[in-house]
Amino acid sequence: MTRRTLAVVSAGLSQPSSTRLLADQLAAATRDELVRRGSEVELRVVDLREYAHDVVNNMLTGFAPAALRDVIDTVTGADGIIAVTPIFSASYNGLFKSFFDVLDSESLVDRPVLIGATGGTARHSLALEHAVRPMFAYLRSVVVPTAVFAAPEDWSGGTADGALRGRIRRAAGELADQVERRLPAAGPADPFALTTDFLQMLGRGDDDAAVTPPGRTGAPPAPDSARAGSPPG
């Protein structure tokens, strides 16, 4: 059974939060769909409110405090992301944007993402399309076609089981499709991994025979034990 993780990022500020409620419903629907298709799913829910100070500190100092580091690793290492924000002043709120701003810009490339938003009126709904979707396009994530917006009327008795539920189910199916198309995520990328060797950086990658590091002869490196005690070159 394939094991999948879904990171559920909610930028809701009030508690309880309708943004979190929408995030939970999107998460449950996606999980159910993946489980139905035979995957084992782990949901990792992130309420950004709990890390608001850490996010700002990260912007000011350039590094993530330990608790935020774990959250970043959770999000960048997930198979799929459900990202939900309240709409403030015609766009995502600052907390939502700030969190994605402190991620490495390459860390969500090709990652399936389902976007959702809540707002005080349905007239905010296209903010998902003109603000949230372009941000993930910049990050080169794969945003599923259905973005889910929930206005106050969507939560009221008459519609809660109707249109919103249908959109959630459709979006969850699309995210499950994208997750299933990919191999399970290998976890967050290692920012300290060396991806090139020195001769390539020096532009001499082709004539490997001619170049040996200074401070030693052309002989291939001996085992460490043979060189113990030799001075640094």
């Binding site: 100092t61 330990a66 300290f192 060396l194 991806t195 950086m201 401070g215 490196p221 060189r227």
Partner: protein, 380 residues
């Protein structure tokens, strides 16, 4: 093991008085700090290099040359020399000159500089930072090691039959460290040449330092310079001390809260937990510093940042007294007791000359254009 101080050379308002020193005062303060470092028995003084306000040290070799003339024993270094925006030819000349004037008490640390606007002022692009560092440093090495250089690269005009003068003192170039916070390419560069690697360490979680040093050590061994634990490692540290740790915290807090780099962000307590910053008693500084060894291994150089964020000179000099009299003597003893015999000390001019088989004058004498002959007795 070497101990010393490194300074950024920032001109910053003292938040407790609202007073901002002049550039002149700051420059003189940096010199006073260097002289104090020698007086209290530290080994190294390293100055930053910057080309924009609020920083004063745009001309490190001028300052270090002056300090060289006023000290006897202090090793003069940089933190860092901008290998990206400086012409490597000028670095080769300037630091060879300094090496002669200081009788070999010189090494330097290469860094890229992280201030975007500075690059275009020197005709460079910050996005090419790593390629610039790689190409320029490779040329710098050749300029110090080959009397006549023919060279062509991507980032500077070609050289034909160029001799960088003066030639390095005793035929031995200064030892070089490479500084980087989180670019594995620079750890690789240091490892390739068998040079030192310096982790800034301060302002960042220790995990960054740990990963970079581990990579550098592994690649140092890979390139055949010695075993991983013989690689030459330096670390930064940031401390503020008073005999009573609560006094240290109370006095340092306004400087911390308003510091240019991290001010108005995390609390002093959070930053002390997340980074190597230690504000407390001399004993706390000793304990924390000894702890660095547990995640980087035995290392060769420890530099402390003592003078930023608007701390007045008087306070900095008091800090240096505590560092030199109470902290470093204990650290020297403890680190030495822990270090295995096969782990070397940081190279110095004397040790490099010895390794090269002794001092030799490497003066390149001019050749007469008409007769093609060198002056009587000159050697090439």
């Amino acid at each position: 093991m070497q101990f010393g101080v490194f300074t950024v050379g920032d001109v910053t308002v003292d938040p407790t008085t609202g007073r901002e020193p002049t550039e002149h005062e700051r420059i003189k303060a940096m010199v006073a700090i260097a002289l104090k470092a020698e007086e209290v028995g530290l080994d190294v003084f390293a100055t930053g290099e910057h080309h924009n306000p609020p920083f004063v040290p745009s001309s490190p070799t001028t300052m270090l040359g002056h300090i060289a003339a006023r000290t006897e024993r202090l090793l003069l270094s940089t933190a860092t020399t901008l290998i990206t925006t400086n012409d490597p030819v000028k670095i080769a000349e300037d630091y060879a000159m300094l090496q002669h004037l200081a009788d070999g008490r010189v090494d330097l640390m290469m860094g890229r500089g992280n201030t975007g606007p500075v690059y275009p002022w020197f005709g460079k692009d910050i996005r090419a930072g790593i390629p610039l560092a790689i190409e320029n440093y490779d040329l710098l090495r050749r300029l110090w090691r080959e009397d006549v250089v023919d060279w062509k690269g991507r980032h500077r005009t070609p050289l034909q039959s160029f001799t960088s003068t003066p030639r390095p003192l005793d035929g031995v170039p200064p030892f070089v460290w490479h500084g980087s916070i989180r670019s594995p390419e620079i750890a690789e560069q240091a490892a390739y040449y068998g040079d030192g690697f310096f982790a800034n360490h301060i302002f960042w979680p220790k995990e960054h330092t740990q990963r970079m040093i581990a990579l550098y050590r592994e690649r140092y061994a890979h390139y055949g310079h010695g075993s991983a634990d013989q690689a030459i490692v330096g670390l930064g540290g940031q401390v503020f001390m008073r005999r009573n740790s609560q006094d240290a915290i109370r006095e340092f807090r306004p400087y911390f809260d308003n510091a240019p780099v991290y001010g108005h962000g995390p609390s002093l307590e959070e930053f002390s937990r997340e980074t190597p910053l230690t504000v407390g008693s001399p004993q706390q500084v000793i304990d924390r510093t000894l702890g660095f060894r547990e995640y980087v291994g035995d290392y060769q150089r420890q530099l402390f940042l003592m003078d930023h964020a608007g701390l007045p000179l008087k306070t900095v000099l008091e800090q240096l007294d505590l560092l030199g009299e109470e902290v470093v003597p204990v650290l020297r003893k403890e680190f030495a007791a822990l270090r295995p015999a096969h782990v070397p000390e940081a190279p110095t001019h004397a040790s490099l000359v010895a390794a090269a088989g002794g001092a030799k004058d490497s003066t390149v004498h001019a050749v007469d254009d008409v007769t093609g002959k060198a002056p009587e007795g000159a050697t090439r």
